[in-house]
């Protein structure tokens, strides 16, 4: 078996006294789309943010393509923080897409996508912009390159945000509820870009309420409830009957039956 793209081992996350993830073990396979689903407050976004090192684990380890992210196992089994340069190197394999897009409002679409190439990687402006244009074309926004975020629709902004992450050629893309703040008629264009990315063989982890998308595009689904991983499996295993009673309840509460029946 090949090495997992992401390997989460015994991950515990506490915010103050509140433990929100109670020891998660999860492998994200290479070249596949994995979806994290679960009710609000189940910890799925926190788990994803730990994978992006936006949250630091309270205990447990995360490996990206076999390399420890942020912390490695120390002498007494206590995790020890790695040097900043190593953390950056491992993080650079990961691209992140946020629910709120988080485009920088003072830069054009092209500026947003080319910024890190110029500032972090020292690529010449003309070359950085050329490479950024390739990514904007990929998300179908080449003709919007000169627009500022305030001049773009939500769906367009999210596609720019995807292009921004792709410009650094990550090995893994993380999506934190990428369509949750979009009008329903704009979710399609974002999901289409994500489908194309999946078809290209990108390793993706998606936190989503789009159960239809999860069922159709994901090869692996992980269902979280109350800070615990209740089950992982293929869409057929997860959505097929008999269902885990908690999952049934979740599908009842969070979806209209129609979407769940797509499976």
């Amino acid at each position: 078996m090949t090495m997992p793209a992401i390997s989460v081992k015994g991950l515990i996350k506490r915010f103050g006294d509140v433990e929100v993830l109670h020891g998660i073990d999860l492998d994200i396979p290479q070249g596949q789309v994995s979806c994290l689903i679960g009710p609000s407050g189940s910890g799925k976004s926190t788990l994803l943010r730990c994978m992006a090192f936006l949250e630091e684990a309270s205990d447990g380890l995360i490996f990206i393509n076999g390399e420890p992210l942020g912390y490695a196992s120390g002498p007494q089994g206590k995790p020890v923080r790695l040097p900043a340069a190593r953390i950056r190197a491992v993080r650079s394999q990961i691209g992140m897409v946020f629910q709120q897009f988080n485009l920088w409002p003072h830069m054009t679409a092209l500026g947003n996508v080319s910024e890190a190439l110029k500032t972090v990687h020292g690529v010449r402006k003309s070359e950085a912009e050329e490479r950024a244009m390739v990514q904007l074309k990929k998300v179908g926004l080449a003709e919007r390159a000169g627009h500022y975020p305030s001049q773009l629709s939500g769906g367009q902004q999210q596609r720019v945000a995807i292009a921004r992450a792709l410009a650094l050629e990550p090995k893994i893309m993380l999506f934190d509820e990428p369509t949750s703040s979009l009008d329903p008629e704009l979710t399609g264009e974002v999901l289409n870009v994500m489908r194309a990315l999946a078809a290209d063989g990108m390793t993706m982890v998606v936190v989503s309420h789009e159960i239809g998308f999860a069922a159709a595009v994901c090869q692996q689904i992980a269902f979280l409830d109350n800070g615990k991983l209740l089950m992982t499996g293929t869409p057929q295993q997860i959505f097929g009957k008999p269902r885990h009673p908690r999952l049934d309840q979740f599908l009842d509460t969070y979806l209209d039956r129609g979407a769940a029946m797509l499976v």
């Binding site: 992006a52 936006l54 950056r88 993080r91 650079s92 990961i94 691209g95 992140m96 946020f98 629910q99 709120q100 897009f101 988080n102 485009l103 920088w104 409002p105 003072h106 910024e115 890190a116 500032t119 972090v120 990687h121 500022y148 975020p149 305030s150 001049q151 939500g154 902004q157 945000a161 921004r164 992450a165 650094l168 703040s181």
Partner: protein, 222 residues
């Protein structure tokens, strides 16, 4: 008492000089206050707490006391601690420090108003702390604080009138002196009010123009 326009014309040269002093103290004061205020805001946000606490105390004291009294203390009390300044430098220093206390609060609020997600996005693509401050936080904060900064500049313009009490030969001092020499209080005060109002109007317009130019950079709330 008649309204004497000839009087106004005859005192023009003196007025022009006073106008120059007001403009100098205002423009230099605003620039100095904004720069110092920015440094204080950055030091309080990113510096150690041993720098942060005294700075916070200074800001609170300056904001909590009248400018008039600060200026008196600086000009008449300064020599006791070896700080003897001519009226204009003393006025400029007072205005700068006074304005900086307010500007630092405007910038502090500006830094806090930048959505944390914008910083996280920058971290995720590999920008380090310095690059995030330079490329993301400062430009975004500048847009956010523009309206409040224009407002502060307008307030500082009117505060330059207070410099008259330490004999800075600016508009208020010169015009009221002329008023008392000529027994023309109404004309002089009318003229004075007109001057300030005209300048404030100008500053306000400039501010609105800049806000309009920057509007395409405005924040989008998803």
């Amino acid at each position: 008492m008649n309204f004497d326009t000839n009087l106004i014309l005859s005192i023009m040269p003196e007025l022009a000089r006073a106008f120059g002093v007001t403009m100098l103290t205002w423009v230099a004061g605003v620039i100095g206050a904004a720069l110092l205020g920015f440094l204080v805001a950055v030091a309080r946000r990113y510096g150690s707490r041993w720098l942060g606490y005294p700075l916070r105390l200074c800001v609170e004291v300056i904001r909590g006391t009248p400018f008039l009294i600060q200026l008196f203390l600086l000009y008449y009390g300064g020599p006791f601690i070896g700080l003897s300044l001519e009226p204009i430098p003393a006025g400029l220093l007072g205005l700068t420090v006074y304005g900086a206390a307010y500007f630092s609060e405007i910038f502090r609020a500006g830094f806090e108003a930048v959505p944390p997600g914008h910083v996280e996005a920058a971290e995720c693509v590999g920008l380090n702390r310095r690059q995030i401050i330079q490329r993301i936080l400062i430009p975004e904060m500048t847009m956010l604080v523009l309206p409040a900064s224009v407002n502060m500049a307008i307030i500082l313009l009117k505060e330059t009138a207070v410099l008259s009490i330490i004999t800075v030969p600016e508009l208020t001092l010169v015009i009221s002196a002329i008023g008392s020499q000529q027994y023309a209080f109404v004309e002089s005060l009318f003229l004075l009010a007109l001057f300030y109002w005209g300048l404030v109007e100008l500053a306000g317009r400039l501010g609105r123009y800049m806000e309009a130019r920057f509007s395409k950079y405005r924040f989008v709330t998803a």
